[in-house]
């Protein structure tokens, strides 16, 4: 349910961009959602539709999900977070703070906790389109 906070962040960020670019109306907002955080896209969409201001009256919100790819700093192995089994409680914690993944995720090749989240971490605003 904190998808509402994320939706608010997206809208406030998109509003900033629209203002900077002098858009009177926003036609499209493209959002990427990383799989690591297990965002509920339905709720995010609903929250966007409820929170949006007049500027976004006719906006198409395009939401794309991206796999969470991790890379080990020790052995350079790359893997996807989805391949791993984690318990419900930890999954919920990761939902709020993706970095909680570091308590249990390890490189499947060498066991190291020293990996980088290459992509698919959080929510990103990819693009804001509109008319001036």
């Amino acid at each position: 349910m904190h998808e509402w906070a994320l939706a608010e962040a997206v809208l406030s960020s998109a509003t900033e961009i629209a203002e900077k670019e002098g858009l009177s109306e926003v036609t499209e907002v493209k959002i990427t959602v990383g799989e690591l955080q297990q965002i509920e896209v339905d709720i995010l969409e609903f929250a966007l539709s409820q929170l949006k201001t007049a500027k976004f009256g006719k906006t198409k919100f395009k939401i794309e999900t991206k796999k969470a790819e991790l890379k080990c700093r020790v052995c350079d192995h790359r893997w996807f977070f989805g391949e791993q089994k984690i318990d419900r409680e930890t999954a919920e914690a990761i939902h709020f703070v993706p970095e909680i993944a570091y308590i249990c995720t390890r490189c499947p090749e060498c066991g190291s906790p020293d990996f980088e989240i290459m992509q698919g971490r959080g929510v990103w605003l990819e693009r804001v389109k509109g008319v001036k």
Partner: protein, 243 residues
Amino acid sequence: MVDPRISSINESLKEIRNIITVVSGKGGVGKSLVASTLALTLAKKNYKVGLFDLDFTSPSTHIILNIQGLQPKEEKGIVPPKVHDVSYMSIIFYSGQYSLPLRAADASNALIELLSITRWEQQDVLILDMPPGISDATLDIIRFVKRIQFFIVTTPSQLAYATVEKLLDLLSELRMPIIGILENMKRTSLPSIEAQVEQKAIRFLGDLPFDEKIEEAIGNTEVLLDTAFARKLEEIVSKTPLF
């Protein structure tokens, strides 16, 4: 690609009237104990107080305040639970008893996440307990949080004060508002750092005694507020214009 969290941080902090960041150049000088006791003291004076433990690498305030069985409420964001009349937030709600081997860049990311999704509601003051030194977290706070004031903790040891001086130099260069310097763990056997602080034209807030009773008070806020340490901190708070 834009990170939408950035523009929402100040949004989520907007109802907070004052932000006090408890820092030091060094670890183990009593930042967490001071931050926790300061929060309890101000709450007792009927201020609306928040406490946010930003030392993701070695969080301690949850032990001092004995946070157990509590969790933030999920409500269009996350709402910090109230403990002893303090709205409290820590990474510990999510990492629990597990070790969290975070590189600072990841800790930074987690910090931005929590700053942007936490709903602090209206507060008179939010106290930030920081990790030691000029760290990613310090730079993040300077970058993202408007209207911060720094509350600096040192001990009488040259080892602590040497690192505090470097922190001071940086904060002064960046024109960050500094409330003053508190000398913790004062012992009669050691000379005070007061004179050195005043040379820097920084307010010396006073000293807190090295208190043998502190250890017993950890995890029990009533006992804590009754220590010589806490009573002296209250006295200092009464005469210091914090906000």
